[in-house]
């Protein structure tokens, strides 16, 4: 029954494509009204060669601000759905190192964190894997540097705030997968991720409001020329850079936060 619905819907859509312009037509209605203006005026007005970044962060900056808010809301929604506060008396697993793989189960009390003889392991214990840990340790610094390169070079090549932020988040998730979730939580705790995501949205909206304070329109970066001391065209380019940094920070923090909540079912004590 559902198959008939799907086939019927597909047939109606196919019938509707008879009126569409052919593929690759330069005179099609999608390419004739606003976009020649963006292509021709991008360098004289903003001096940014990557047209997509210029349109995304400057000409259509209002949309991007609300998109950043949408990502932040998704992080908050995931947090509220899954997070459980831990009740203290529960079973913890420890492993006695000198005598090999001796597993011990205790209830309630816990052993000291930095004892040299016992280490804490997860419920589904995977053994210490040297290859994955060493490879991840070698790759992660290069991933972080590449992500920062992508964020700051969004003006001259493909890239920008979103792509760099996602790669930053992916580097931290790689660290959380190859080691365990608790050591990743020590490096970037949940509270730091939440605060960082809010700070990203604040940077974006704050730049717009700052332009309001300088007697210009909201998100009109040309007004920053008096603060930065350059002509208005370069000021727009710098305004785009500041805004991309805010977007990258929010995206990174929300990706890490969603991973923390999903992979530990909300309890934040054991991961993949």
């Amino acid at each position: 029954m559902g198959l008939i619905t799907v086939v019927l819907c597909g047939a109606m859509l196919l019938f509707g494509t008879a009126d569409f312009p052919g593929w690759g037509d330069p005179q099609s209605p999608a390419s004739s009204h606003v976009s020649p203006y963006y292509i021709e005026k991008s360098i004289p007005q903003t001096s940014v060669p990557n047209i997509v970044t210029a349109v995304l962060a400057d000409y259509r900056g209002y949309d991007t601000m609300f998109e950043t808010t949408v990502i932040f809301t998704a992080g908050i929604a995931c947090f509220f759905l899954l997070r459980i506060q831990r009740k203290e008396p529960e079973i913890r697993y420890y492993r006695h190192i000198p005598t090999g793989i001796t597993l011990r189960v205790e209830k309630g009390a816990k052993l000291p964190e930095d004892s040299k003889v016992f280490e804490r392991i997860d419920t589904l214990y995977t053994p210490h894997d040297l290859i994955i840990k060493t490879t991840a340790r070698l790759v992660i610094p290069f991933l972080l540097i590449f992500a920062l390169y992508v964020i700051t070079h969004g003006h001259y090549g493909p890239g920008g705030g979103f792509q760099g932020g996602v790669i930053l988040g992916a580097a931290i998730i790689l660290f959380a997968i190859s080691y365990d979730l608790r050591s990743a939580s020590r490096k970037l705790s949940e509270r730091a991720a939440a605060l960082l995501s809010a700070a990203g949205v604040f940077i974006y909206a704050g730049t717009g409001a700052f332009c309001l304070l300088l007697a210009s329109n909201f998100l009109d970066y040309g007004a920053l020329a008096s603060i930065l001391g350059v002509d208005p065209v370069t000021a727009r380019s710098h305004g785009i850079l500041i805004v991309e940094i805010g977007v990258g920070a929010t995206v990174m923090a929300v990706m890490v936060w969603i991973y923390y909540n999903l992979s530990s079912r909300g309890k934040h004590d054991e991961g993949l």
Binding site: G2, G24, D25, P49, I51, A74
Partner: protein, 133 residues
């Protein structure tokens, strides 16, 4: 006959988009497992993004990044030389919204599993019906 063949060859991106969207719609309606439905939703989202990107293609045009000559002023930039950048901008927003929706949908699936101990839609339905009696 020649006309139909011409339509088939010159517009095959629309055909690809319609087939993909129908695959996604089929998965969302017919399949009973929740994770399969979420995969179908994601397939539908990427199919729509494919449609929008394929609208902006122009023949013999290059990617929308302006490279400068040796002097610092750019040469005359003709709009017919570069691909339409406007659908790319809209689709960047769409991709990021898609991944945010995916995160929330998977969180909901985990919560459903925690409550009912199953991910199949008909078992959850029977459970709710028995609970209502």
């Amino acid at each position: 006959m020649d006309d139909i063949l011409f339509i088939l060859i010159s517009k095959y991106n629309y055909w690809g988009y319609i087939i993909l969207m129908m695959v996604g719609l089929y998965a969302m309606i017919i399949k009973k497992n929740l994770v399969k439905k979420i995969i179908g939703m994601s397939i539908m989202q990427t199919a729509i993004i494919f449609f929008y990107v394929s609208i902006g293609v122009k023949k013999n045009a290059t990617i929308p990044i302006i490279t400068r000559g040796h002097n610092n002023a750019a040469d005359i930039v003709r709009a017919a030389d570069y691909i339409n950048p406007l659908p790319h901008v809209l689709m960047l927003t769409a991709i990021v919204v898609a991944v945010a929706t995916l995160g929330v949908a998977l969180a909901l699936a985990i919560k459903v599993y925690r409550h009912y101990d199953t991910l199949e839609e008909d078992e959850i339905h029977d459970f709710l019906k028995n609970q209502a009696k």
